[in-house]
């Protein structure tokens, strides 16, 4: 069993890198063309002071793109996995608190965002998806060495 994992681990790392990196790259890329909306999406969580929320709304898409690209090319995988996991953790907290407080918002994960009708929220599926991505990030922190990466 352990020997098998030894063989598959670099491939699993590659797959985890491509999934987490691809999702982050897509999430950032879809937001970058409309940063006004991105800032609005962060404000809608009503979690941070307005100034900080607006800053994050403008900065986060770039950071997502950066981490996503680094994971895809396999440079600095351990630290990027950890950063990706941390980002997902923050998203989970943000979505869960919005849900618990009864806010009606779109997560704004892939563009969009802001206040929506109560029946249009989908908090549970967003949290489940982010838990999966969080797990990939943690896996990459512990097993950063994979196939076709720049890290040696």
């Amino acid at each position: 069993m352990r020997a098998k994992f030894y063989i598959y681990q670099p491939w699993l790392t590659l797959i985890a890198r491509l999934i987490l990196g691809g999702v982050l790259l897509a999430a950032g890329g879809l937001k970058i063309g409309n940063l006004q909306k991105s800032a609005m999406a962060v404000r809608a969580y009503e979690m941070l002071p307005v100034g900080l929320a607006n800053f994050l709304g403008y900065a986060l898409p770039w950071i997502e793109i950066g981490i996503g690209l680094l994971l895809i090319v396999g440079a600095g995988v351990a630290i990027c996995g950890l950063l990706g996991a941390f980002t997902m953790f923050a998203f989970i907290i943000a979505i869960a608190q919005a849900w618990a407080r009864g806010l009606s918002i779109d997560c704004g994960c892939f563009g969009g965002g802001g206040a929506v009708d109560p029946e249009d929220t989908k908090y549970l599926s967003e949290i489940i998806r982010d838990i999966g991505l969080l797990a990939l990030g943690i896996y990459l922190y512990y097993f950063p060495k994979g196939k076709f990466g720049l890290d040696k």
């Binding site: 940063l35 006004q36 909306k37 800032a39 607006n54 770039w62 950066g66 918002i105 720049l150 890290d151």
Partner: protein, 224 residues
């Protein structure tokens, strides 16, 4: 790792440095371009202290702030349900009403907001506001709202001046829309429509979609 060749490590570090540089430049550039621009042309009815909104009845009280995006379907519904009463309030000078045309839905929101500001210069803002919602496309940024279309829309409500046409075609107030966006962001407006009466936000779940409740909310804020 100790066995790695220097060249490989160099490539990796170069890639990390390049990507980090792009991220930092992107963040800084985005933050700078999100700030409001004090040199932007603004319509005469716009007040910087009122969040760069278009002000109707500046001398009246109470103050009603209306944040919309002309492409937002919920804003169109709000206009259909409560626009009539709000326009009555404006016509009878029962309140100072400040319109903040936001542009987060994209390019056609910017063109529409610009045309509304051009109409404000012709004292036709209220009519243009209504006409835009009545002519909202079924989907976002569909191509329907071109400057040609908006000039014709102005004509349909009686704006025939050359100044209006030039204002729309030149995008005279496009920079101003960024100022509205920056001020709306500072005011913590997270969706549209958003209405404040004397700074107090109305309840999105009940007071926007119901004529009686909307009237009651305005009355509670001092609209007689």
């Amino acid at each position: 790792m100790a066995t790695a060749s220097g060249g490989d490590k160099g490539t990796r570090n170069l890639v990390i440095a390049m990507i980090s540089f792009i991220v930092v430049v992107g963040v800084v550039f985005s933050l700078i371009s999100s700030r409001s621009n004090s040199t932007a042309a603004i319509p005469a009815t716009v007040s910087e202290t009122d969040g760069y909104g278009i002000v109707l009845n500046p001398e009246s009280t109470p103050k009603i702030d209306v944040y919309v995006d002309y492409q937002c379907p919920a804003c169109r519904m709000f206009e259909i349900i409560n626009g009539g009463y709000l326009n009555e309030v404006i016509a009878q000078k029962k309140a100072k009403v400040v319109f903040h045309p936001m542009t987060f839905i994209g390019p056609e929101s910017v063109l529409a907001a610009n045309s509304a500001a051009c109409a404000a210069d012709e004292n036709k803002f209220v009519d243009m506001n209504l006409a835009l919602f009545q002519n909202q496309a079924d989907s976002e940024n569909s191509g329907k709202w071109s400057n040609e279309f908006l000039v014709e829309l102005g004509k349909s409500i009686g704006i025939t001046s050359g100044a209006f046409k030039t204002c729309v075609n030149d995008g005279k107030y496009i920079k101003w829309t960024s100022n509205v966006a920056a001020a709306s962001a500072k005011a913590d407006v997270n969706g549209t429509p958003t209405i404040f009466v004397n700074g107090k936000q109305l309840d999105r779940n009940t007071e926007y979609g119901d004529q009686a409740k909307f009237r009651a909310a305005l009355a509670a804020g001092g609209v007689k």
